[in-house]
């Protein structure tokens, strides 16, 4: 099978990513050790943990930005190494944490960059590409500022623009590295609702690195928790949000209270 066919078949499997005993060390420091996890298709999966727990590195491995030093990572049942750059990008889109904010491009041009995996280095920017860009802009509700320059947008608008670029990429799977890190609470809810809608209505799978355990519980279907490069907990939000598990993840005493209007309990530090 070619790399391209592999990428297309991947969308139809039930486990979008499977990683098996992954280890990563950089300059002799173990970042990840013995991590084995599964990511079901069609779900929003959160990676949580304290700073330096390895969650971003794990996401980078899934995005093929880093290569694990041991173990295997598979996408759609095939090892990540079997894919080629553009074919993989047609199927999996990745949003890095540090985004270049000082870009000269307009939003529409930025979103257009997401079409690169389809038209390639020498191809024309076709009518289909244009339609996909417009659809992505519409899906993220950024029509009103599509002509503005990226550098002039507020944080929430900019994140939506980048997510629009990922949507234009037409990928089955979105990998998002702390897309809400610099946002206020209103924009966090706005961006995460958008991500959830994209997954559940658009049939996409999402892996998202989040800081806030309550946000993860509210918007994600499943939570994988890391600590010191190892998996400490994995399950549905309700299974993770119990005091003992939270203590294992964050290393401090935490408790939960139930809120009548929410479907899941709310965690807080004691």
């Amino acid at each position: 099978m070619t790399s391209e066919q592999l990428a297309q078949n991947a969308a139809e499997t039930t486990k979008i990513f499977e990683i098996d005993r992954i280890g990563l060390s950089i300059d002799g420091n173990a970042i990840l050790s013995d991590v084995s996890l599964e990511f079901p298709a069609g779900e929003v999966v959160a990676l949580v943990g304290h700073n330096g727990s390895g969650k971003s590195s794990l996401l980078k491995i899934l995005a093929r930005q880093l290569t694990p030093t041991s173990g295997t990572a598979a996408y759609g049942g095939r090892d990540l190494k079997q894919y080629q750059g553009r074919d993989f990008a047609r199927s999996v889109a990745y949003l890095p944490q540090d985004l270049n904010t000082g870009s000269d491009m307009t939003i529409r041009e930025l979103v257009g960059c997401g079409r690169y995996p389809w038209h390639g280095a020498l191809g024309r920017f076709s009518e289909i590409d244009k339609q996909k860009v417009e659809a992505a802009i519409a899906a993220t509700h950024i029509e009103t500022f599509a002509e503005r320059v990226v550098g002039t947008l507020s944080g929430g608008e900019r994140q939506r623009a980048w997510i629009a670029m990922l949507i234009a990429q037409d990928a089955h799977c979105l990998l998002l590295d702390e897309p809400t890190a610099a946002l206020d609470i209103a924009h966090q809810v706005e961006v995460l609702s958008l991500v959830r809608r994209l997954a559940h209505e658009g049939g996409r799978s999402v892996v998202i690195v989040l800081h806030d355990i309550n946000m993860a519980a509210r918007f994600c279907d499943r939570i994988h928790a890391l600590k010191g490069g190892r998996v400490v907990a994995s399950g549905m939000p309700g299974e993770i949000l119990v005091p003992a598990t939270l203590h294992a993840i964050y290393g401090i005493d935490m408790d939960v209270i139930s809120v009548p209007t929410l479907s899941h309990p709310l965690a807080y530090a004691c």
């Binding site: 080629q84 993989f88 990008a89 890095p96 491009m105 307009t106 960059c113 320059v149």
Partner: protein, 654 residues
Amino acid sequence: MSPTRSDNLGPALVCLALLCGGGVAAWLLIEPALSVVAGQGYDTRRMVLYYSTLPRLVTALLAGAALAMSGALFQHILRNPLADSTTLGVSAGANLALVVVSLFVPGLFGAGRDVVALAGSAAAAAIVIGLGARRGFSPYSLVLSGLVLSLWCGGLAAILIYLNQRYLASLFIWGAGSLAQQSWTIPLSLAWKMTIVAMVCALVMRPLSLLDLGEAGSAALGVRLARLRVIVIACAVTLAAIVTSAVGVIGFIGLVAPTLARLSGARRPVQLIFWSPLIGAALLFFADSVLQLSAGGLGSFLPTGAVTAIFGSPLLLALLPRLKVRHRIQQAELPRRSRRRSASAPLIIAVMSVLGLVTVSLFVGRGPGGWAVLSGEFFDDILALRAPKVFAALASGAMLGVAGSILQRLTGNEMASPEVLGISAGATFGVAIALFAIAPGFPGEFAFAAGGAISVLAIILLGSRRSNFAPERVLLAGIALSAMVDAVVGVLSSTGDPRAALLMRWMSGSTYLVNGTIAMSEVALGAALIAIALAARHWLDILPLGPAPSAAVGIPLAGSRLALFGLAGLMTAAATLTVGPLSFVGLMGPHFARELGLTRALPQMIGAALIGGGLMTAADFLGRTIAAPYQIPAGLVSALIGAPCLMLLLGKKR
């Protein structure tokens, strides 16, 4: 005020090592004269020792200290690790003032050389810092305007010297920084002037050391920033001016000495400002003694300024990866540019202008009888002479423009260009080797130039890969390489080799030697390389977003960067062959294109090509006609027209 001991150990060791090295070399120089039994009456060796060798060594110590002090002050007050009297154009300003005054109003020297030099450097500093202030002292725009001004002053001085060669030959050697002395006058006058400036500096030391807290923080503690800035900059400019007026332009000491101090452990501002002059003094002393020792009889003719650059730049390059940029550079605000809806209007205007320029350039000339449109019996003959130069200039300018555009997009740095990054200098170096080793034709020279340009790119690529092309690293590396090549050429030309004269003419960017074959090759190369660059437009659109997003959409990072850098190198090499390394078109083309609202890769490259080609054609035309029957090299003219335009643009932006 008592710095901890461990912080001082490193700088002290560096200082001691340099002084020991210099001391040994100096002793070997003096020793023969001392070992002779003191003769009676007229003892030449002893006179040389007392009135030439010793004053020279003392001058080296003093000039080194003054330059390093000036550099340290500039770096600290502007919070910019790249600042020094060379990169801010202050030395070049003093140099130009001295050249102009000695040519046109020599009477002014009655008021004192120092006054003239000081006026020149103060004007340069005022222009550069005034422009910088409008952009919130953004370090890059400051160094950019400084380098542009430096180049402009250097270019103008070169033209003046070129047109008045007989009177200014010795000025040229002096301009390259010669420490040769005939008496104690210069070191003594340097010493008391420096003492005054040092005393002023000591008075502002306290507020100066608070500056690390940032503007708001130090103002909150009661530091009067505006006044402090004026005092410190005035001190730094004065130091640079008195040294320039005494011994000419000695580059790099002001950049290298504070860098060495910082790398060897000096941390606090007081330490930096204390150790930098000592290290600078030791450094120049060492460089000059070694130079005198190794060059023997030629020593008094070899400009030390050139030699310090040959020593200093590799040192800087080697230290670069270890340099932590402590001065936190505040991110410049993104200027809110108005964007035009379509790119076609500016492009159409550009195409029309270039066509117009080429036509005028081909058919209008200036003969003995004044301006004339080409006609009559010599039509074919003259056209056959003119056309190759016009088209070679056009192709070279276009290639430089596109190369600049590619480099700016790849490094994410608006100041990147073949000239600033030292790639042109690399090409020059290749040609110099080609000229001195063998004497090949156009293909051979192109191969050597391309080799030089691409090796410089490789050095930049390897050196800054770990820092992810952090702009300050790339720029420092480029400045270092350019200075080194300038220095090598300076040393070569002061040896009096006839091939050096050829190299000098070529460096000034003269299209005089271009014939039909060369022009054809240039145009063909230009068309092919630009076509390849235009085909890579998608890469160039996406790569500025950063490595992670680019890799995420499937761009092969290493491969695409390598290909694009290589392409820029080839274009620079081809263009440098006809218009020399100093045209600045590679910087101006993309800048003007961006100012016209062309921000995407494809229109920007086309715009940069048209503007670059147009500028070069216009420069060639002006150079040919303005001082007819003399021909002023096109490369110099384009630098002289373009640099002020660029500075105006820099100043206009909020």
